[in-house]
Symmetry: C2
């Protein structure tokens, strides 16, 4: 069995490997966990002892098969709970992450199996992130960052990269959400800022925004 801290480190390492490739540095982990490098080292050594990561001093860490399976299961729980909170309890999409951070650590396979059924086996969480199935399989989805689109290209918003409350609220005030149709009207070469069209309104957005919106191009 794994402690809450161990579970959180495994999840962090999973996300880091996903985003920046295999072999995660101590500093990257410490950063994501909002702790000190020395604390990260301690935990990395413990996780290596438990065979859930492979690790050599000074060379970074990678999840083993077992470690990945644990991490994915926590992510599955996190996302299912987020669906529950939004679909059943009427929370907004910017309000659920912190609560799901707690709920993801509840230990009961039966509970998750039944929750999944109750929710109708959802494929995506409220932020457009895929929900791993009970075997840990994550269906690969073809989605593209808005920042990669050129002038006049368009797509449907299928997810967000950042999912901080601040960013989600920014999107809310501009009526951008999962399912919104977005078209690039103008793109500034110098700073990658864009003018986009959502429904019948046009907005000016910075690179920081376009780099955090996933689209399915059409």
């Amino acid at each position: 069995m794994f402690t809450l801290a161990e579970e959180n480190y495994l999840k962090a390492i999973f996300h880091l490997e996903n985003d920046y490739g295999t072999g995660v540095s101590t500093n990257a982990i410490a950063d994501k966990m909002d702790t000190r490098a020395s604390s990260a080292t301690d935990m990395i050594q413990k996780l290596a002892d438990k065979k859930v990561i492979s690790y050599q001093k000074y060379k970074g860490a990678s999840l083993t098969k077992k470690g990945k399976s644990i991490a994915v299961n926590i992510i599955r729980k996190h996302r299912l709970w987020e669906v529950f909170l939004v679909e059943k309890l009427d929370f907004q999409w910017d309000e659920v992450h912190e609560i799901a951070e707690q709920l993801e650590h509840i230990k009961s396979d039966e509970l998750i199996q039944r929750l999944d059924l109750f929710l109708g086996h959802p494929d995506f969480d409220p932020h457009g992130d895929p929900i791993p199935d009970k075997n840990g399989y994550i269906k690969p989805t073809e989605k593209k960052l808005l920042s990669k689109l050129k002038k006049n290209q368009q797509g449907i918003c299928v997810g967000v990269k950042e999912s901080s409350a601040k960013f989600l609220q920014y999107l809310d005030t501009r009526k951008i959400g999962i399912g919104s149709s977005i078209k690039v009207i103008e793109k500034e070469d110098f700073d990658q800022s864009m003018t986009i069209q959502v429904s019948n309104k046009q907005f000016f957005i910075t690179k920081q925004i376009s780099e955090n919106l996933y689209l399915k191009t059409i």
Copy 2:
């Protein structure tokens, strides 16, 4: 903010005061928490420092107003989650306690408020225990242990005292549950064993059973 361990101690002290009156002994707490008296003393001193119990060396502990309010809130969460698990996820009443022991520590007032609404503001949990309202008020209910009834008296089962899976399964196999009509057919003076009638069937039960079933007499 209170740690998981602190919350569990507060809940234990609340239940002990409820069952055996104010001023709870160190041993009673250690016993309920399945720990050693020395550990209980450590925690008692910490809780006293935090002003959630009043305590004098060698004299036992009692919840302060603040401590009681925290304990009752945890119990409210526990019971609401049990309702959720049974009503929404189709768990059996003997399967929910352990999971609720985890869920009761999730910290979000908004979550509990919405869960309560989602469940339709239930008054009782699956074991017939009252659910405190958001102000911590527990509606007093008139219920009587089956063991207190005399021959030919009857009532409706409104709750169980014990709620271990073993006991609940015992009741299940005899089709006894919340709402069952129970009549005392025969009562043995010597050992308090009884013959009772449930629906059209008669059972022989020991004192241990009758002391753990709450009835509303009619």
